[in-house]
């Protein structure tokens, strides 16, 4: 408790403890995180608290970030890949207000990156921590909504429901899988929801040097993928998982490898495609200018 007093940055709101949550709650969440890291991909229940942002808007991610944040951290917050989207701005402001930490939009500079729906394009490095906001932690919920039953299926490692669903999709549509939130096998043991990131980002979880933490506030679950852990998208040998992106080049930086947003430019069918990762796009544009 005394530690928190001197951790209080000078320009933060004095009415609140450093990073909003009380120290005992943060410790409880850190213990949950340790357990989650020890059992990769396994969902650990935790006593999620009411936060001053609504459920579904990142309360799980915010609680995880609040629990691991120290005064020397540099925080980046993205939503849909971008730092300037409204919810990302709101969460970044929240941590600036209650923790006074340094914030950045640069992926390379960040020690903690809280995200909704994307993993940055720039490869992450050792020591970086990704915090994912998770709406539905249970990868099987669309196939079996009852949690007592899915817990049993995880214990038995019985993922036949997901495999049959994938088979049916392939049989009916010719291709498998969900375009986003496509389930992954973690460390060859637990089926895990990667959160609603596009399938395009799934491969970035595999053997990543960064620590991946997943927080679901409303559903009161935390799970994790430790650095250098095997993460494989659910697929079949003869129908391998295929990450999808719009087949265009970014209109701003020309990238043909990044994930793109589709922007409607008029009501006559006009479309433009730009990078969803705003930091990556800006870096590309700078590199381009430097080369010219």
């Amino acid at each position: 408790m005394t530690a928190s007093a001197h951790m209080q940055a000078p320009d933060t709101d004095p009415g609140y403890n450093f990073a909003y949550l009380d120290e005992a709650t943060k410790r409880m969440i850190r213990r949950t995180l340790l357990k989650a890291i020890a059992i990769p991909g396994h969902q650990i229940p935790f006593g999620a608290r009411e936060m001053p942002l609504p459920y579904g808007w990142g309360t799980g991610g915010i609680q995880v970030t609040a629990s691991i944040l120290g005064p020397d951290d540099t925080l980046k917050v993205i939503d849909q890949g971008a730092d300037d989207t409204t919810n990302a701005v709101s969460i970044r402001r929240f941590f600036h207000r209650v923790a006074g930490v340094r914030t950045t939009t640069r992926t390379a500079e960040a020690t903690i990156i809280q995200t909704r729906h994307r993993i940055p394009e720039r490869p992450l490095t050792e020591g970086q921590v990704m915090v994912f906001q998770v709406p539905m932690p249970e990868p099987l919920f669309k196939l079996e909504p009852r949690l007592a039953e899915t817990r049993r299926l995880h214990a038995l490692g019985d993922y036949s429901l997901a495999q049959v669903k994938l088979y049916e999709d392939i049989a009916r549509q010719g291709e498998g899988g969900s375009s986003y939130s496509h389930p992954v096998m973690v460390n060859h043991r637990y089926l895990m929801s990667p959160s609603p990131i596009p399938g395009f980002d799934n491969p970035k979880l595999h053997m990543s040097p960064a620590l991946m933490l997943f927080g679901a506030g409303r559903e009161k679950k935390i799970y994790a993928v430790p650095p250098y852990t095997s993460v494989v998208s659910l697929d079949f040998d003869d129908h391998p998982f295929r990450p999808v992106r719009a087949p265009h080049a970014c209109a701003a930086c020309g990238s043909t490898t990044s994930y793109l947003d589709e922007i409607v430019t008029d009501d006559r069918g006009g479309r433009m495609f730009v990078c969803s990762d705003t930091d990556h796009c800006a870096e590309n544009q700078m590199a381009r200018k430097a080369a010219e």
């Binding site: 936060m51 001053p52 942002l53 709101s90 196939l143 079996e144 909504p145 549509q173 589709e262 009501d267």
Partner: protein, 365 residues
């Protein structure tokens, strides 16, 4: 001598006088006016107008004041009043594409013609109690106004429809629309009646049902294609004139959700629309309505009906809070005649049960 309890006019009169006194509260404080309710508790007024099926801010504010802030009671008062009004002809369909937009957001596109307009919203506020509001202070400074661009704001669902990715809605006909308030609901209910029922349905009930579809009870994959709120013109065509005239503007909130649909042998895979429209500014209601509307389409689309939100009778017969509150609360009425027969029945079957058990015990000895 025993005297049977009678209804007691005096008791009822006293109870109602007490209620009126409670409603007024401490007379040392100024009385709340209906105009203050309409201005400063505007979202409560919007909810009462939606569930009361009557667009009149003043009457809804009065209902809230009279109901001591009980919004279901207020909707009930407004519904009861509404039925005393002479009925006009049905209005022309309101054109929400031509809405004077105060708020318009799309979750499916980062940007689109007309842009994202955040408008007056709780979204992105931090839910920290603002103790400054405890003191009566100065009016907040209004935000800077910028010139309206006048750029058209086509509906996002129309943009998707241009590409042929949206399931076409069946074309309308000239037949007068069915009216839930005049004829009982048939089952399975046609979509026009389902939407009428949902539009006046309880926000909390629809919220819970909509939420259940997101959690696996109904298999929804929704995206908010567009949520818009603002003013639309209401037009009627009086038969003696034969052309539409304007009655004025009302505030509505419209939500269009897109959901993936696997398609069938004769239908390509495509997006389907869940639709929500609510009187006033009520986003939670419009969104929940759009989720439930889509869930209720399961039957028409040949999807498996497994969840409560997909069941027409379950949803539509329990969504009306005026009906529901009446029947739940009627349990407070005297039921002693029925209960007496229940008592006698229980005594009788208990006597049999005891006799049977004693018989078993004797046989065992």
């Amino acid at each position: 001598m025993y005297v049977a309890v009678k209804g007691g006019d005096a008791a009822i009169a006293a109870a109602h006088a007490w209620l009126a006194e409670q409603r007024r509260g401490d007379t040392a404080l100024p009385e709340l006016s209906a105009a203050q309710v309409a201005e400063q508790l505007g979202l409560a007024v919007d909810r009462v107008m939606a569930e009361g099926s009557c667009h009149d801010r003043e009457l809804a504010a009065l209902a809230i004041k009279q109901a001591r802030g009980d919004l279901i009671e207020a909707a009930f008062l407004l519904r009861a009043y509404r039925n005393t009004l002479t009925r006009f002809p049905a209005a022309e369909p309101v054109d929400t594409g031509a809405m004077r937009v105060r708020r318009r957001i799309s979750a499916t596109y980062k940007d689109m013609p007309g842009g994202q307009v955040l408008g007056p919203t709780f979204d992105y506020t931090h839910r920290l109690l603002d103790f400054a509001l405890l003191a009566e202070g100065e009016a907040p400074t209004p935000p800077e106004e910028s010139e309206a661009t006048g750029a058209p704001m086509p509906r996002v669902s129309d943009i998707l429809a241009q590409e042929g990715l949206m399931r076409r809605e069946p074309p309308g006909d000239d037949a007068p629309p069915p009216d839930l308030t005049r004829d009982p609901l048939p089952f399975p209910a046609p979509r026009a009646l389902r939407l009428q029922s949902l539009a006046r349905g309880d926000e909390g009930f629809l919220l819970g049902l909509g939420y259940s579809t997101q959690r696996g009870y109904g298999n929804a994959h929704p995206f908010v294609a567009e949520l818009r709120m603002g003013e639309v013109e209401v037009l009627i065509t009086p038969p003696e004139l034969g052309f539409p005239i304007s009655l004025g503007e009302i505030t509505v909130t419209e939500c269009q959700m897109v959901n993936q649909f696997a398609g069938q042998a004769d239908t390509p895979p495509q997006f389907t629309r869940g639709y929500g429209l609510s009187l006033g500014h009520s986003e939670r209601k419009a969104m929940a309505m759009a989720l439930v509307d889509r869930a209720l389409m399961a039957r028409d689309l040949g999807e498996e009906v497994t969840a409560p939100a997909q069941d027409h009778e379950f949803v539509l017969l329990h969504a009306d809070n005026v009906e529901a509150t009446g029947f739940v609360e009627h349990l407070k009425l005297p039921h002693h005649v029925d209960f007496q027969s229940e008592l006698e029945k229980l005594r009788s079957i208990r006597a049999r049960w005891e006799a049977a058990r004693n018989g078993v015990a004797e046989a065992a000895e």
